[in-house]
Amino acid sequence: MPDPTGLELIAHELREHVAGSVADTQYYRGVATLVVNPERSLDVLRWLRDAPAQRYTFLSSLHGADYLPHEPRFGVHYELLNLDRIERIHVKALLADPGDLELPEIDSCIEIFPSADFQEREVYDMFGVRFRGHPDLRRILMPEDYEGFPQRRDFPLGGEPVLFTHNEHELPRWYE
């Protein structure tokens, strides 16, 4: 992990190379976090991967989070790993909820890290974050005709009817 000073240096260099990219830096419990502007997230990831002093070439995890009472509401997290120094940096892009039935959008990083394919689909499936440029953005874990995004914090827990023989008549034409 970069220490707090190292994190500030990375943020400083990033601001020079990619204007308006870093919104904030956080250092908490040994985890260095770059909060980036979602519009520039691809440039940030590409710089972190390619800059000779950084070389965070391995995307170990991509996941979403919903910080519901807070704004901006959604977070897309990238856990990057430098394979030589085994150093992790956590990149976080916060997305506002556009409201109504609109979905929040961010650029897909599949060009930079092909391993993001399934994981972006999972974030789309669970949080309804649309990844621009993803070649095959479909639901991955939930059924393809499912409505709603179950991991959002305002999505209720439970209430899914489960089909048994005793209640199959309550779900008309369930077999279709």
Partner: protein
């Protein structure tokens, strides 16, 4: 079946030329079939949409989610210590690892220290769990290749590991042994001798498995030179664990970023050379041996001391204190009813599971329940590499590739 000319190392994606018919100008029709979801060789409920040209796989698309049970969502409605038994059921062959990575993540958020004896107990159980997971993998994979006797032998040893788990924690699977701040209870008297006796036996048994498979012509022909993917491509696809190490990259978080007590043991990281299915098999079998070494060192060198933190705000007080101490009773009541609160923040912790990097991401909002729990399951990410492994190969090799990938659908779907 693949002929002798395809056994050369350094496998290319175009290793299976169309035989006879296409050379003669006959066109092959593409055939799209469903492989699974209910097929024993998919190791669970995985559906692959496979496009075949004759017997050659031309395209492949995995469909997952058939055992999606919403564990991550359910975790958000449970207090931290109640999440542990739930999260163990994700990757059902690596339950100690799931619980460990979640507890490590919560401990990082709480800044809770774990006593050294607990770290050793965690290592012992995790390595036994790795042996157990690899035994299930070896047995089922060999069975996919038609070697059914290996399955029985592996499950015989697996049962002994489960007996050890039962003796130390009361459960054979999903033991809820790892707790935030340490482990649930100390090992019973005489358990260490049982473990050492089993290690002696296990090392001998591994040699017997190898004797059954290493010189088995069918096994060699079906695994050597099959499914190789170059190391840079695997890294691009996020592949970790034995699949990556089979190509010669020694990335193992136990060595690279030691956690728990792994920096105190002497062990090696087995790596392969070309990264075909045979190397994957060799790496995993060698890992069983190294795990035996770690368990042996840990059992012999286990320090004395408490098995869980003395911080009563996090760990339950010992049972006998409840009868005499009012304070212990209050702590017990608070922990059992509400659970402990975790200050707001988020953390990602990764450990080396049997299948690769097992990561846990927890967002705490200051309450007694996590606001978000995400497991970066290695099977889920590794599954993306199946396409690269299988395309251009025979459909029979697809079975081998899938078996050597070792996907656990409970972990993929969560």
């Amino acid at each position: 079946m693949s002929g002798a000319e395809q056994l050369a190392p350094g496998v290319s994606a175009e290793r299976a030329p169309l035989d006879g018919a296409s050379a003669g100008g006959t066109e092959h029709e593409l055939l799209t079939i469903n492989f699974g979801p209910h097929h024993p060789a998919t190791h669970g409920v995985l559906r692959l949409l496979v496009t075949l040209e004759g017997e050659v796989v031309r395209d492949l698309k995995p469909f997952i989610g058939y055992v999606h049970t919403g564990i991550e969502k359910n975790c958000e409605d449970k207090s931290y210590w109640k999440v542990i038994p739930l999260i163990e059921r994700m990757d059902y062959l690596a339950y100690y690892f799931n619980a460990l990575v979640f507890c490590m993540c919560v401990e990082r958020l709480l800044e809770e220290e774990v006593p050294p004896r607990a770290e050793y107990l965690r290592v012992i159980h995790c390595e036994l769990n790795r042996i157990h997971s690899h035994l299930v993998w070896l047995g089922t994979s060999a069975m996919d290749l038609g070697a059914i006797s290996v399955f029985w032998y592996c499950f015989r040893e697996r049962d002994k590991v489960l007996d050890l788990f039962e003796a130390s924690s009361g459960q054979r699977m999903h033991t809820r042994y790892v707790q935030v701040g340490g482990v649930f209870e100390d090992i019973p008297a005489g358990w260490d001798r049982k473990v050492l006796a089993f290690m002696d036996e296990m090392e001998q048994r591994v040699g017997q498995y190898e004797a059954m498979l290493d010189r088995n012509e069918i096994f060699l022909q079906r695994t050597r030179g099959v499914g190789g993917v170059p190391e840079p491509r695997l890294l691009e696809l996020g592949v970790t664990g034995p699949l990556l190490r089979a190509t010669g990259n020694p990335l193992d978080l136990r060595k690279a970023a030691p956690y728990s007590a792994y920096d105190q043991f002497d062990f090696r990281i087995p790596v392969g050379t070309v990264g075909d299915c045979y190397d994957r098999y060799r790496v995993r079998v060698a890992e069983i041996r190294e795990s035996c070494q770690i368990v042996r060192q840990a059992v012999e060198g286990i320090p004395e001391g408490p098995h869980i933190t003395a911080n009563r705000k996090v760990a339950l007080p010992p049972r006998h204190e409840l009868a005499t101490s009012m304070e212990a009773l209050i702590h017990h009541f608070k922990l059992v009813t509400e659970g402990f609160r975790v200050p707001p923040g988020e953390a990602y912790v990764a450990i080396e599971g049997p299948r690769g990097e097992l990561g846990c991401f927890v967002v705490a909002d200051g309450s007694a329940k996590p606001a978000r729990v995400h497991m970066r399951d290695p099977s889920f990410v590794n599954l993306q590499a199946l396409r690269d492994m299988a395309i251009g190969g025979y459909v029979a090799d697809l079975i081998v590739n899938l078996a050597m990938l070792d996907p656990i659908l409970g972990g993929i779907d969560r």
